[in-house]
C-alpha cells in the first residue's frame, strides 16, 4: 500500500544515491517537482532512464546528480538542444556522463518487458542501423517458428520510478488520463514507485477501463499541486511553453545555470517555495 507522505520524505526514504531511476511522462505529466527535490537533496551517481530526457533531466545532469543516462531522444521539445546534456556528453561537465541510447519503440518495449517480468523484449528494428554497434544491450534473436531475425533488448527494471498524475484517492489509488506515455509500464517495472498528484480526492470516479494504478503497486503518493510544471497536467493547467523557451537561455551558460539552480532549487525549501521564487524571477524578466 502506498503511504501518503510529503515529497521530501518520499525522495528522502525511497531514492538513494546510485539508484537507477526512471522519471517518465511523455511531454505530459512530467514529474518536475520530484526531479527538483532529488537535486535539492543532493542525490549522486544516479542512472537516469527516460525516453525523452527533456528539461527535467537537463536539470539533474547539470546539477551533477547523474552518472549515466539511458534514453531515446534528448532534446528540448519545440525549442532545440538540451545544453546541460550536451555539455556533459561533449565536455564532461560537470562530470562525465555515460550514455546508452535506444529508439522509442525499443525503450517502450523494454518497459513493457520489465512490467511483464520478462528478461527481454523483441522488436522489428535496427537492421542496418549502427546503434547496435555502440550499445551491447541491443542484440538479435531468431524466431523459433519462422527463423526471422528480430532485435532484442533487455527489460528495464528501475530501482525507482517517479511519475506525476492527476488524482489519488485517500487509499493511494492513482488515476491518470490524457497522454499516458509509458508511465504505467514504468511504475509496474520498478522496485519502488513514487507518484506526485494534483489532488487527493474521496473518490476517483474513474471511467471504465481508465488508467488506474492501485495503491498496492506504489510505495508513496505525494500531494504536489502543479508538480508537473512547466509541463502540463491535462484538465489542470497548460504547458508553460515560455519556460521551455527560457530554459534555452538559462541552460546555455554554466554560470547562469548554476545560479538558477541555486536560487530556485537549492535555496528553496520545497516545490511551492520554488514556484514562488520562479514567479518572482519571471515577473522581473518581464519588467
Amino acid at each position: 500500500m502506498a503511504e501518503i507522505i510529503s515529497l521530501r520524505e518520499a525522495i528522502g526514504s525511497l531514492l538513494r544515491d546510485g539508484d537507477t531511476v526512471a522519471m517518465e511522462g511523455f511531454t505530459h505529466l512530467i514529474p518536475f517537482a520530484a526531479g527538483q527535490e532529488a537535486i535539492r537533496q543532493g542525490r549522486k551517481d544516479l542512472t537516469l532512464i527516460r525516453m525523452t530526457p527533456d528539461v527535467i533531466y537537463d536539470q539533474l545532469i547539470g546539477a551533477g546528480c547523474a552518472k549515466k543516462l539511458i534514453f531515446s531522444w534528448g532534446g528540448n521539445p519545440g525549442v532545440g538542444s538540451l545544453h546541460r546534456l550536451r555539455d556533459a556528453v561533449e565536455k564532461d561537465w560537470p562530470k562525465p556522463l555515460e550514455i546508452q541510447e535506444h529508439g522509442h519503440g525499443d525503450l517502450s518495449n523494454a518497459y513493457v518487458a520489465g512490467a511483464a517480468n520478462l528478461p527481454f523484449a523483441v522488436l522489428r528494428a535496427y537492421a542496418g542501423s549502427e546503434l547496435p554497434q555502440h550499445n551491447k544491450n541491443i542484440r538479435f534473436v531468431e524466431c523459433p517458428f519462422t527463423g526471422e531475425r528480430l532485435a532484442a533488448v533487455p527489460a528495464i527494471r528501475p530501482d525507482v520510478t517517479v511519475i506525476h498524475a492527476q488524482k489519488a484517492d485517500r487509499k493511494g489509488n492513482v488515476l491518470l488520463w490524457g497522454i499516458l506515455g509509458v508511465q504505467k509500464e514504468a511504475v509496474l517495472a520498478a522496485k519502488r514507485a513514487i507518484v506526485t498528484v494534483e489532488e487527493i480526492v474521496d473518490n476517483l470516479n474513474a471511467p471504465p477501463n481508465a488508467c488506474v494504478l492501485p495503491s498496492w503497486t506504489l510505495a508513496a503518493v505525494c500531494h504536489v499541486p502543479g508538480g508537473a510544471r512547466p509541463s502540463y497536467a491535462h484538465g489542470y493547467y497548460d504547458r508553460d511553453n515560455r519556460f521551455y523557451q527560457a530554459w534555452d537561455d538559462i541552460s546555455r551558460d554554466r554560470e547562469v545555470f548554476l545560479n538558477w539552480i541555486k536560487k530556485h532549487i537549492l535555496d528553496t525549501e520545497d516545490f511551492s517555495a520554488f514556484q514562488r521564487v520562479l514567479n518572482e524571477s519571471t515577473k522581473e524578466q518581464l519588467v
Binding site: 522509442h104 517502450s108 490524457g178 509500464e185
Partner: protein, 261 residues
Amino acid sequence: MSAANYTTTEMMTVAASRLLKNGAVCFVGIGLPSTAANLARLTHAPDIVLIYESGPIGAKPEVLPLSIGDGDLAERADTVVSTPEIFRYWLQGGRVDVGFLGAAQIDKFANINTTVIGDYQKPSTRLPGAGGAPEIASCAKEVVLVLKQSPRAFVKKLDFLTSVGYLDGGDARKRLGLPGNGPSAVVTDLCLMRPNEATKELTVAQLHPGITREQVQKATGWEIKFAANVPETAAPAENELRVLRDLLHRTAVAHGQTPAA
C-alpha cells in the same frame, strides 16, 4: 510566379503535404512533418489519420503542437493509447502508411543520422538521438523525409547511421527483411527526390520553381543525379498558402509567441 510570393520553407512544406493521400495513416513527428501533415489534413486530405508517438490516434489539432505530447493532440483524437501500444500495435503492427522523418544528415541512399556529428564517443555535436526513427524507418509502409538541403546535411558519408533507408542501395534493404518499403521521397527547400527504382539512389524528380540544377548540386555533398524528366513543382496554390499561414499564425498566438508580421 514571383519569388516574393512564398518562402522556400513554405514550398517545402506544401510539396511534402501534397504527398499525403486522403485517408492515409500518417505517423507524424514534431516540426516540419507535423506542419505538412496538418496542412494536408486542412486542404486536400480531410480524412488523413495522424498518429503521434506519444499516443494520440486520429489527432486533429487546432494549432500545431510544440511538443509531441501537447494536450490539444489528445483532446480531439479518436483515441489516445499508451506509447508502447503506439509502437507495438500501430507502427510495428503495420498500420502506418507513411512515416514522416527529418534528419541532421542524409546520404544518397536515404539513410539518416540523428545521433552525432563527429565521433560517437567524443562527438563535436551531440544530436537529440534516434527517437522513434529506427522503428519508423523499419516499419512504416513508406517513409517521407523532409529537410533543408545543404552540403552539411546531404553528405557523402554519414557520421552515424541511425535509421536505415536503402543501406548500400539495390536490394540491400530488401535483404534486411524489414517490413516497410523504405523512403519514397525526400522533400527539401529546393527539390523533390525519389529513389531510383533499381539502384535506390536518390534522384531529383522535381525542381521547385526558380531553382536550378546547379543550386541543387551545390547544396549536395555528392554528385546528385537527375531523372530523365524533371518537371517543375507546382508553386503553392493560394489556398495552400492561406491555410498554411493561418495555421502557423494561430499556432504562434496559441503558444504565446509574437506572430511573425
